[in-house]
Symmetry: C3
Subunit: 139 residues, 3 copies
Amino acid sequence: MKQFTHHLQLATRGKGLYPITREIETWTEGRGLRTGLLTIFIQHTSASLTIQENADPDVVRDLDEFFERLAPEGAAWYRHITEGADDMPAHIRAALTQTQLTIPLVDGRLALGTWQGIYVFEHRARSHRRSIVLHLAGE
Amino acid sequence: MKQFTHHLQLATRGKGLYPITREIETWTEGRGLRTGLLTIFIQHTSASLTIQENADPDVVRDLDEFFERLAPEGAAWYRHITEGADDMPAHIRAALTQTQLTIPLVDGRLALGTWQGIYVFEHRARSHRRSIVLHLAGE
Amino acid sequence: MKQFTHHLQLATRGKGLYPITREIETWTEGRGLRTGLLTIFIQHTSASLTIQENADPDVVRDLDEFFERLAPEGAAWYRHITEGADDMPAHIRAALTQTQLTIPLVDGRLALGTWQGIYVFEHRARSHRRSIVLHLAGE
């Protein structure tokens, strides 16, 4: 089996879901493997990863609003407040979603379903540069 | 190292957790490997995967009810409503649980704990046919 | 590619997050691989895994409190109550976080971000002995 690693950078512009499916498919399917396993790992605790519907953009807007309501800024009981009102909610939102996703490669293609898109879920209000590590093993 | 892939289909009959442990163990442990890594990937964004207690069936009933209460049908603020009242809650429930699970194979057996069962978590109200991709690598 | 497995035991003393980063890094980076994939799997359904900020200890305290509020002990609608008031909340908290984490190994080091720590998230009120299985594959 062969292994490949890659480092992606993504510039985010505030809270919300940023699609990265195409970039990940292009890199993965360009390695020349037929069968394998791709792992996507985001190196942050205030941004995360999720797989969600890629068709109606209202889905990812509603998803962001759900988390906004579930872990609102400025809850009176937060102790961790020195890094901004959006920071503790960001950590909660990251804990509730994924830091890592692993997806099989079958017949040379990532085994995503028709309606599945891969997203970086930014939880901070301001712009950030996010680092993502890819690892692919297979033959 | 060798690799194997497999495609499971599961017919669901409305919201709830459907056990798939036995089917997954049978396939995995039948590949003849001693040490390896199994990845389970569900190709949907309105159904998901979870590992939960396999003993008292009330656990998975309560788990389903928790998510019903956390992301209720018909919240006034949902924008994504054209696919049915259960669709946006389904996407939220999927985001809060897993699209993928990876489990080590040790001494020829999946390293599940005594009380751990693998479940497909169906989030839509009607019957669906769900696709699951398995990837196993090892020796 | 080579494979290694390992079994960790952790004694917890009630609800909260217990850091395991150093122990996992020491074992992983001691296997002599340059590139690979580490999988961490916890064999329980009332304790889980999460990657969170390793700097301000208030983050993990707030995270624990968030889950305490989201899935409180003694909700009137729980059916599963025979194993104690903290048991059903524990299963919910485990379902909302991770049973498994997979992290790439790049240039001989785990690809954790600067502020990322790996934690066992104990959801039961009393002391427990928790079992974690590690699987590493690479070259």
